[in-house]
Symmetry: none
Subunit: 423 residues, 2 copies
C-alpha cells in the first residue's frame, strides 16, 4: 500500500507483538482487562511502556499528573518543535484490549517507521522531537472525570483538583500516583501537533469496509452528577404513603431520561452508567441515590433542550415521591472541531495511496479533544468489531490493526512533513 512498502512485515510483526505484550497486564478470567488508572495493573503496563521507550532511544519524562512522555530527538532541523502521538493505557473494569492501548502501541511503532524513513532520506519532518504520550486516567472509571491527564496537561483541569480526586475507597489520585511511582516533576517540550489513533467504538468503518477514519469533530456532552434524598425506614411496616423512597425517585428519573432521548428532534444520546444507593440493605427504604447522567449531541441546542427537560422532570419527580432531587455537579464539553489543515493533508495522502478511509465524528471523548485546545490535533479511528467496547468482547482483527496502522503512517507522514514550520 503506497509508500509503506519498506519492511512493512517487520513493522506489522513488531506492532502485533507489542499489542499482545500489553494484554497480560490486568487480564481477567473472562479474557477482558481491568487496568484502572494508577492501579498495580496499570503500573505494570506503564513500566513495560517505559522499558520499551528507553530500549528504543527515547528519553522518558513523567509529569505531575503521571502522564508519560517518551521523547525521541530526530535531530534533523534547527527547531524545538515537538510532534506528539499517543493515547492511554488505563481501561474500564472488565474492558477490552484495544481501547487506548492500540494508540500507544501504534505511536511507538510509527516512531520506528519515521526513523527508518528519515534515515533513508525518504522523509523530512518539520519537527525536532517525536513524543509518545501516555495520558493518565482517560477512562473516568476509577477516578472521575475522564480525560484527567490530558485535561491537566492542557489546562482544562487544575493540578490540585486532579490530585484531590478520590476513588470509591477514598484513595486520592495523588496518593495512588505516588504509590505507583508515577508522580513526576518533568516538563516535556510543548506539543505543536498531536495525533491519536483509537478504535472506533462504533461500527461505521466495519460496515463500510474502510480501513481508517478521519475524525472531523467530537460531539458535545453534558455530564451531570445528581443526588436524590429520601428517608430510611423499615420496608415492612412503614405505610406506603409515608415512604420517601430515593430508589423509586431515581428509577423514575432513569425512565424520564430515556424519554428525553425519544423527545429530542436533534440527534441525542442519553445514559446513566453509574448509580450508588444508601444504605442498600434489603429491609430498609433507600434514603440516598447518586446518579451519573450523560447527554451527548452534535447540537448545542439539543444539549440545552435535554438539560431544560431534566430540570422540569426533577420538580415533577420530587412532587410525586416526596424526595429531594438536585444537580450537584455539571460538566459541559463543547462540540470540538479537529484541525482542518491536517485533516485535508491526511485525506489527500490517503487518496493518493488509494487507502480506503472515511470522514467521521466521534461521540466518545478522547485525549485528542483536550489537546486540540492547545495545538492542532488529529484523531484517527481503526475499525472495531460490531462497535463493542468497554467489554471483554471488544475486538479488532490483526489484519484491521495493520491496515489502520498503515493508514496512520500515511497520514502521519503527510502531517509531520507538511505542518509546523514547514508550511
Amino acid at each position: 500500500m503506497g509508500n509503506c512498502s519498506f519492511d512493512q512485515k517487520t513493522l506489522h510483526a513488531q506492532l502485533l507483538e507489542l499489542l499482545r505484550e500489553f494484554r497480560r497486564f490486568g487480564m481477567t478470567e473472562t479474557g477482558g482487562v481491568t487496568r484502572l488508572a494508577a492501579s498495580d495493573e496499570e503500573k505494570e503496563a506503564r513500566d513495560h511502556l517505559c522499558v520499551w521507550l528507553k530500549n528504543h532511544g527515547f528519553t522518558v519524562l513523567i509529569d505531575p499528573i503521571g502522564n508519560i512522555f517518551g521523547v525521541l530527538d530526530f535531530g534533523l532541523r534547527d527547531n524545538c518543535r515537538a510532534f506528539y502521538c499517543g493515547s492511554h493505557l488505563d481501561s474500564q473494569p472488565e474492558g477490552g484490549h484495544f481501547d487506548g492501548v492500540l494508540g500507544v502501541v501504534c505511536a511507538c511503532i510509527s516512531s520506528l517507521f519515521l526513523k527508518a524513513k528519515i534515515e533513508r532520506g525518504e522523509l523530512e519532518p518539520a519537527y525536532r522531537y517525536f513524543v509518545v504520550a501516555c495520558w493518565t486516567g482517560e477512562e473516568g472509571a476509577r477516578f472521575q472525570p475522564s480525560l484527567i491527564g490530558s485535561s491537566v496537561f492542557t489546562g482544562r483541569l487544575a493540578l490540585d483538583k486532579a490530585w484531590d480526586l478520590q476513588d470509591s475507597n477514598q484513595i486520592q489520585l495523588k496518593q495512588a500516583l505516588i504509590e505507583s511511582g508515577y508522580l513526576g516533576t518533568d516538563k516535556p517540550p510543548p506539543p505543536e501537533h498531536y495525533l491519536e489513533l483509537h478504535i472506533e467504538q462504533g461500527s461505521f468503518l466495519e460496515r463500510s469496509g474502510n480501513e481508517i477514519g478521519l475524525i472531523e469533530a467530537c460531539w458535545g456532552a453534558e455530564k451531570i452528577r445528581l443526588s436524590v434524598t429520601g428517608k430510611a425506614d423499615h420496608t415492612g411496616p412503614t405505610p406506603m404513603e409515608e415512604r420517601r423512597d430515593a430508589l423509586l425517585a431515581a428509577s423514575l428519573l432513569v425512565v424520564e431520561i430515556k424519554r428525553i432521548y425519544t423527545a429530542s428532534e436533534d440527534v441525542l444520546h442519553t445514559s446513566i452508567g453509574r448509580m450508588t444507593l444508601h444504605p442498600n440493605s434489603p429491609n430498609t427504604v433507600v434514603d440516598n441515590a447518586e446518579l451519573w447522567i450523560e447527554f451527548r449531541s452534535t447540537s448545542s441546542a439539543a444539549l440545552l433542550f435535554a438539560i431544560r427537560k431534566l430540570e422540569t422532570r426533577l420538580l415533577a419527580i420530587a412532587d410525586q415521591t416526596g424526595c429531594t432531587l438536585g444537580i450537584t455537579n455539571r460538566e459541559t464539553r463543547n462540540v470540538t472541531k479537529f484541525d482542518a489543515v491536517a485533516l485535508d493533508l491526511a485525506a489527500q495522502a490517503l487518496d493518493e495511496t488509494k487507502t480506503p478511509y472515511q470522514r467521521l465524528e466521534t461521540i466518545a471523548g478522547h485525549d485528542a479533544i483536550c489537546l486540540q485546545d492547545i495545538c492542532p490535533s488529529t484523531l484517527l479511528f481503526a475499525p472495531s468489531k460490531d462497535g463493542i467496547t468497554h467489554s471483554p468482547f471488544e475486538f479488532t482483527s490483526d489484519e484491521d490493526v495493520c491496515a489502520a496502522f498503515d493508514g496512520m503512517t500515511i497520514a502521519l507522514s503527510a502531517i509531520v512533513t507538511r505542518t509546523g514550520n514547514a508550511i
Copy 2:
C-alpha cells in the same frame, strides 16, 4: 392496675435497671447500638443475660445454633410442659435499644412476678418449666436471612445451612458462634406455648394511647431476588437503539412494582431496598442489575396477584429493553395467625383489669412467627415513639415500658394458668 398490685414498684425498678444494663453492650457514638449477631458486643450482652439467669435460679442451656434457654423449674405439677418467653439481643447496625432486648428483659422480670405469685398461692401454672429464650440472629443484618435461631429451632431452616451462612467478610456463622462461645449441644424441654413482647415498630399504639397490643396475625411476604442482564457498551457512541441497558430495565421494574401496589385491591406493601449494578462505571452501559424485591400483605391472594403481575411485567420489560430478566430466588413467608385461644384469654384478662389494649397485625417478622409453627404462640406489642425503629431514635418511655410489662403479666398469668393441660 388489677392483680399486679403486689410489689409492683420493685418489679418495675428491676425491669428498668436490667433494660439499662443492656444499653452499654455495643452502644455507639450516636447513642444507638450496633450489636450484630454473634459479634463481640452481642457476646457481652449474652454473657450478661446468662449471669442474670444463673443468679435467679435458672439452668442455662445453649443449643447448636447458639439460642440461649434459661430454664426455671416451677416444680408444681406432675408434668414436663415448658412455657417459653423471650426475644433476641442482636440489633441492626446503628439500631435502637428496645428492639428485641425489651422482650428478653420482660421475660426475665416476668419470671420473678410468676414466682412470687406462685409462692403466695395466687397462681397455679399449667406448666412445669418457665423458659427464657434468647434467639440467635433475628435481625438478618450480619447474616441473612432473618429469624435464624428460631427457624433452626422450629425446623424451618436446616442447622447445616444455618451454620454455613456467611457475613459480608465471609465469616461463617458456625465459626462466629464458636469464637463467641455460643455453639452448644443442649436440648431444652420442647415448648408448649411461646409468648413474646416486642416494640411495635409502628405507631398505632402511640396514636390510640393503648398500653399493649395483642397481635392476631403476621403479614405474609414474598422475598424475591431478581437478576437483569443487559450488555456492556460505551455510553457515548453506541447507537441508542442498539443498547441493552440493564439499569433502564431495572428502573422500569422499580416503577412497575410501585404500580403493583397501586393496582392491588387488597392491602399490599412493596419495596426494593437493595439493588447492585455492574460495572457501575459512568461511561459504560450497565450490563447487570440485581434486585431484592419484597411484597408483604395480610392476603395470600394479594401476594399471588403481585407475583403474577411481576411475571407479566418481566416479559414486557424484556421486550421493551432487550434485556433478560429472571427471578433467581423466591422465599415465601405465609400469613401467620397466632393462637386464638391464648389471644382471647389475654383479651379477657385485660378487659377484666381495664387495661387499655388493642388487637393488631404485625408486618415485620418476629421469632414468635417461627414458634407458632410448633406450638401455640402469643405476640404482644409495646408502644414505640413515632414508630421509628432500626435507628438510634427508636424510643419507648419508662412509663410505657412499665405499662406494657404490666399488661404482659396480666396476659401471661391468664395464659400460663388456663392453657396447656389445664384446659
